[in-house]
């Protein structure tokens, strides 16, 4: 019952009013696996387009993505962050410099390689990430408040299953020639 109550008219759920929701799939017919997969692939593509919208809910999504990767990796190098995000090192460096000015990340010389530096999140950086995550969750809650709990749980479960069975994690397994295999 902690769900915020300032969402739109509960009588018209977004799914009901969306023009995109005119799929030919008849819910009463048993879906063939192949057709179901096609639909899923289409839905996934739409999901990746939607994420631009999701990012727009958070004001500084770009630098925060970088901050999130630093938090995830612990102490790390710019090149590793850039590799994980598939971004240019120069772009990531600029983001990190801005985050550093805000006191959200800190640098330290790498004792194993004096030419390079290691970056990590400050407590303020972790707090900022926590705030933004809460903000995203709040925005999600507003939009999914009509969903039964079981459906929200199913969505999490299936997102997790899809991500772990179909896609490898560039952060957990940084690109390296010897480990270019997906986990089974």
């Amino acid at each position: 019952m902690s769900t915020p109550t300032l969402a739109a008219d509960p009588g018209t759920s977004p799914a009901d009013t969306s023009p995109a929701d005119t799929s030919p799939a008849d819910p009463s017919s048993v879906p063939t696996p192949a057709a179901g997969t096609d639909e899923l692939v289409t839905a996934l593509r739409a999901l990746f387009t939607c994420t631009r919208k999701v990012r727009s809910w958070v004001s500084d999504a770009g630098p925060l993505t970088v901050l999130g990767v630093v938090a995830q990796r612990g102490e790390t190098r710019v090149s590793a962050v850039a590799a994980a995000l598939l971004m240019d090192v120069s772009t990531v460096s600029r983001s990190l410099a801005a985050l550093c000015r805000e006191g959200l990340v800190q640098w330290r010389a790498d004792e194993n390689d004096l030419r390079s530096h290691l970056v990590s999140c400050t407590p303020a950086g972790l707090a900022r990430l926590g705030e933004r995550r809460a903000q995203l969750q709040h925005e999600l809650a507003l939009r999914l408040e009509d969903w039964p709990e079981t459906e929200v749980a199913d969505l999490s479960r299936l997102l997790n299953r899809f991500a772990s069975s179909v896609l490898t994690d560039p952060i957990a397994a940084p690109p390296s020639p010897s480990t270019a295999k997906e986990p089974a």
Partner: protein, 162 residues
């Protein structure tokens, strides 16, 4: 659309939000991160010299039909210099070409070449096939449920609350 005149709640009060939504948020973040990684391997499949960032641009140019560099910079939230560097590499590989902008004689519009579109289609088809094979291990009910939930999730996300 919505009568939401209330200001957003301060973030500090949101930290203890419903764990169900924090699960969705977490899984979404993981999925997107992994999808980014997948885009990187797609880029290498298209051409070993194609950088992941350039792959994103190629997809956008192909899907949009034609784009200006400034539009791409805005869409991806990166600076114009980064866009032109990636566009140059796409031009070198013969995947993208530039045409004079009919609306602005000083500007160019970027268009994907037939070679670019063909390579992109082939790579996407191969990827779709791999996803399909992975999903064969799932039961049809879960596949259908996931497609349905995602479709509704996308519609919900598209729906403006403010």
């Amino acid at each position: 659309l919505a009568e939401t005149t209330q200001p957003p709640t301060p973030h500090t009060e949101l930290v203890d939000s419903d764990p169900a939504f924090s699960d969705v948020e977490r899984e979404l973040v993981v999925l997107l991160r992994r999808a980014r990684g997948a885009a990187g391997s797609l880029a290498r499949e298209i051409h070993p010299d194609l950088e992941p960032a350039a792959y994103g641009l190629l997809v956008r140019i192909a899907d949009a039909g034609t784009s200006r560099a400034t539009e791409l910079a805005e869409y991806f939230g990166i600076d114009k210099s980064a866009v032109s560097r990636q566009v140059k590499s796409l031009e070198r590989l013969g995947f993208v070409t530039r045409e004079r902008d009919p609306q602005d004689a000083r500007a160019f519009r970027l268009v994907s070449t037939t070679a670019g579109l063909t390579r992109l289609d082939e790579t996407r088809a191969a990827r779709r096939e791999r996803v399909r094979r992975q999903l064969e291990a799932w039961d049809a009910g879960d596949v259908a449920l996931f497609a349905d939930l995602l479709r509704r999730f996308n519609a919900a996300v598209d729906f403006s609350v403010r």
